[in-house]
Symmetry: C2
Subunit: 416 residues, 2 copies
C-alpha cells in the first residue's frame, strides 16, 4: 500500500492532538487551518478583558509541528469536501486525501437572530478578542468624554449574554477591570459606577456544574457587583441595548456568550447532523459508511458511556484527536484498531475573579481561593510552549500584586 | 490669576514628558491623543517583525498619568486649532485653552506619490505594525502554497525603502526572521531563499551617523544577506513590485521607511512652516507672536546651537517636553523663565541584528556586540513600566537563546 495521505482540517485542540499523534508515522499528514496559529481558547476572555496579549495564548501551528517532517501545514479556508472524489476544496485550490479528520470547531449561534451578531459579538478568535477589548475600553473613554448623564450611563453598562463558563469569566473580568484596574484612571467618571449585567435564560449560572458550585459562583459574581438575571431569555438586541423579558437595559457594550453551533462540516459532507449541526459519528468517531472520515471535537456528535452526547470541551477534543491518531497508526501498521473511544472526564473548572473559582473533579468539588489556584496551575500547565507558560504566569502574578491589567490597548479598525 | 488650563496635543515622547513635568503644578492639564496608549516607537519595528507584542511597547496614557490628579486625558482626534478664540476642535466637541502645547509628531511622506501608501505602508502606529506583520508572515504562507516558481519568488522578496535607522532595523529583522526563526517551519519553500532588498536614494546607509559606522552597518547587513542598493531613488511602486532607477524588482511586500513629513499642526495654526511642514518656533519653542503656543518634537522646526534644525528624534522631543514644563511652571510661579532651549545630544544608535549594532556617542563610536548590548540596555531602560522592561528583556533573551521569535501571529482584517 502506498504511503497514505491524512488531511486534518482545523488546528484547535482536536486537530492539533491528532497531528501530534501522527508525527513520525508512516503517512503524509496535511494540517489545514484558516489561521496560522493554534489558540488556547480557555484564556481568550483574558485577551478580551486586557489581561493577556494575544501572543501569550496563541502559537504558530508551524512552529508547534516543526519537528514533525511528515506534517505539512497549509493556511487556507476550506470551502467544501467531496467525499466521493476524496478531495477537500480550499479557497485557493484543492487537496486530495486518503483519510480525512474534520476538527473545525464551533461558532456562535444567535438562534435565528443573525442580525444580533454585529451588536453582540461573540468570542472565538483573536480578532474577536481584540475587537471586544476595543469595545470595552472605548466605552470607558466615551463615558469620560460624554457630558450627557444618560449617554454616560449607557456607555458604562456592559451586558454579557449567557452564563456558561465564558459568560461568567467575561462578566467577572469586566467587573474587575472596572472596579480595580481602572479605578484611578479617569477624572470625570468613576469606573466603579460601571454596571455589569450577566443574563441567563436558564435557572442558574454554570448549568453544567453541580448546583452547589453554581451557588458559589453566583455569590462570587455578586461580590464583584455583577448583576445576574436568571430565567429570562433575551428578547431583543440593538445598538443601544438589550431587552430581557420585559426589562430594557440601555447598554453600549453587549457580549454574546450564549449559543454555540457547530461549524459547516455536516453541510460539507452532507451527512446526518444533530440539532446544533454536529456530525453524528460512530463509536470510533468515523462517519457511518465512511471509515476514512473522522469528525472530532465540537464538530462531532459522539455519544458518551452514559448515552449522552459528549460536551464541547477542550479535553474531549484533545482525547479524541489522540484516539484518532492511535486508530490511524494501527491501520497503517496493520494492527487491530483500539476499541471504541471513551472520554475520561478529569473535571471542569471556571474562574470568576481574584481568588474566586469553582472546580468539579467529580469526587471533589472546590471553590474559592483553592479552586482559583488550581485553575491557574492547570491552565498554565496546558499552555503550549515554555515561554508562554512563563510569561502568562508572570503577568498573572504581576496583576495580582499590582491590581493592574497590562494590555489595555485600543487597536484595530475604528481606533484611528 | 485663575488657574490656567494647559492643553497638550499628542502623548508621544514630547507631549508625555511635558504632561509629566506638569504633574502637581498649579494648573489644569488636558492631554489629547487619538490613541489610548503611549507608544515606545523605537521598538515598533520589532512588533512588525514578530519579535515583541504590542502591549510590551505601549502603555495606556491614563495609566502613566494616573498619579497626576491635575492631568486629564481625552482620547479623540484633533481637527483644528483656533488660535484667536484659543480653542482646540475635536471630532467630538472642542476644548478651550490658555496655553497650548502641540506635540503631534510626524507621518509618512511619499514625495507626491500618495498612491504608493497602500502598496508600500509605513510604520507609525501599532496597527501599522500588526498590519506589516500580517503582510510579512502571509507572504511566507502564500509562497509555501504557491506552485508557480515566479509567484513564489515574488512572495519571498521583501523591499524596504529608506536606509535610516527604521529601514536598517526592519531589513535586518526580516532577514533574521527568514534565515533563522522560520528556517524549519516550511516544507515546500526554504525561507532562507527569501531576498531582502534595502533601497536608499542617498550614498550610504544610516546617513546621520559617521561614515565608519555606516560602513560597519553595511557589512552587518551584508552578513545577513540583505541586498543594499545605494544611490538610486524609487521610480515606481505597485502591487507587484518596485522600480529602482531602471531595475525592476518583483516583490509582494514593500515597506516604506523613507520620507517623513510633519503632522498638520502648521496647517491648523496657519503659521510659518519649513519644507517638510514643521512649525518654525523661537528659542523658547513658542510660535512667534504667540507665547501661549508651544510646538515640540517632530512637529517643530527648532534650531540647534549649530544653527541647524534639530533632528526628529525621541530624545529631542523628550527634552523639549521637559523644557516646556519648566517654562510653564516658572510662568505659573511668577518666576523668570529659563533661557533658550538647548538640546543635549547623548548620542544615537541603531541595531541591525543579533550582536550587530552601531552607536555614536560623539566622543565614542562603537559597533558589533558591544553596541548591540548597549542598544538593548538603553532601550529597555527607557521603556515605561517595570513590567514591560522585564517582559521585553525576557523575550529578547529567550529569542536570543532559542533563535525563535515569539509573536508570529497573522491577525486583523483579511486574516479571516
Amino acid at each position: 500500500m502506498a504511503r497514505p495521505h491524512i488531511v486534518i482540517v482545523g488546528a484547535g485542540f482536536g486537530g492539533l492532538s491528532a497531528a501530534a499523534g501522527l508525527a513520525g508515522a508512516d503517512a503524509d499528514v496535511t494540517v489545514i487551518d484558516r489561521h496560522n496559529y493554534h489558540l488556547f481558547q480557555p484564556l481568550l476572555y483574558q485577551v478580551a478583558t486586557a489581561g493577556l496579549s494575544p501572543a501569550q495564548i496563541a502559537q504558530p501551528i508551524r512552529s508547534i509541528l516543526r519537528k514533525a517532517p511528515n506534517v505539512r501545514v497549509i493556511m487556507d479556508s476550506v470551502t467544501g469536501v467531496d467525499r466521493h472524489r476524496r478531495v477537500v476544496s480550499l479557497e485557493d485550490g484543492e487537496v486530495p486525501y486518503d483519510t480525512l479528520v474534520l476538527a473545525t470547531g464551533s461558532r456562535h449561534a444567535y438562534f435565528g437572530h443573525d442580525e444580533w451578531e454585529n451588536v453582540a459579538p461573540g468570542l472565538k478568535t483573536i480578532d474577536d478578542a481584540t475587537g471586544l477589548r476595543r469595545r470595552i475600553l472605548s466605552a470607558f473613554e466615551h463615558a469620560e468624554e460624554s457630558s450627557d448623564p444618560e449617554a454616560r450611563r449607557r456607555f458604562l453598562t456592559f451586558v454579557v449574554i449567557g452564563a456558561g463558563p465564558t459568560g461568567v469569566e467575561m462578566a467577572g473580568a469586566i467587573a474587575e477591570l472596572a472596579h480595580v484596574a481602572l479605578r484611578h484612571d479617569f477624572r470625570t467618571i468613576n469606573p466603579r459606577d460601571a454596571r455589569i449585567v450577566l443574563v441567563e435564560a436558564g435557572p442558574r449560572v454554570l448549568a453544567a456544574f453541580p448546583p452547589t458550585l453554581s451557588e458559589s459562583a453566583l455569590r462570587s459574581l455578586e461580590r464583584l457587583h455583577v448583576e445576574v438575571r436568571l430565567g429570562k431569555p433575551v428578547a431583543e438586541c440593538d445598538e443601544r441595548g438589550v431587552t430581557i423579558g420585559d426589562e430594557r437595559l440601555e447598554a453600549s457594550t453587549i457580549i454574546w456568550a450564549a449559543g454555540v453551533a457547530s461549524s459547516r462540516a455536516a453541510q460539507w459532507l452532507d451527512v446526518e447532523k444533530d440539532r446544533v449541526g454536529r456530525v453524528v459519528v460512530g463509536p470510533d468517531l468515523t462517519v457511518p459508511g465512511h471509515p476514512e472520515i473522522f469528525v472530532i471535537g465540537d464538530t462531532a456528535h459522539a455519544t458518551g458511556s452514559d448515552g449522552q452526547p459528549l460536551p464541547g470541551l477542550a479535553p474531549v477534543a484533545k482525547q479524541q484527536g489522540g484516539y484518532v491518531a492511535r486508530v490511524l497508526r494501527a491501520r497503517i501498521g496493520g494492527r487491530a484498531a483500539p476499541g471504541a473511544f471513551r472520554y475520561r472526564n478529569y473535571g471542569a473548572m471556571a474562574t470568576i475573579g481574584r481568588r474566586a473559582a469553582v472546580a468539579d473533579f467529580g469526587w471533589l468539588k472546590v471553590d474559592g481561593t483553592l479552586a482559583w489556584l488550581l485553575w491557574g496551575l492547570i491552565h498554565v500547565t496546558f499552555l503550549i510552549g515554555f515561554r508562554n507558560r512563563f510569561v502568562v504566569l508572570f503577568d498573572w502574578l504581576w496583576s495580582y500584586a499590582t491590581f493592574q491589567s497590562g494590555v489595555r490597548l485600543i487597536t484595530g479598525p475604528g481606533s484611528h
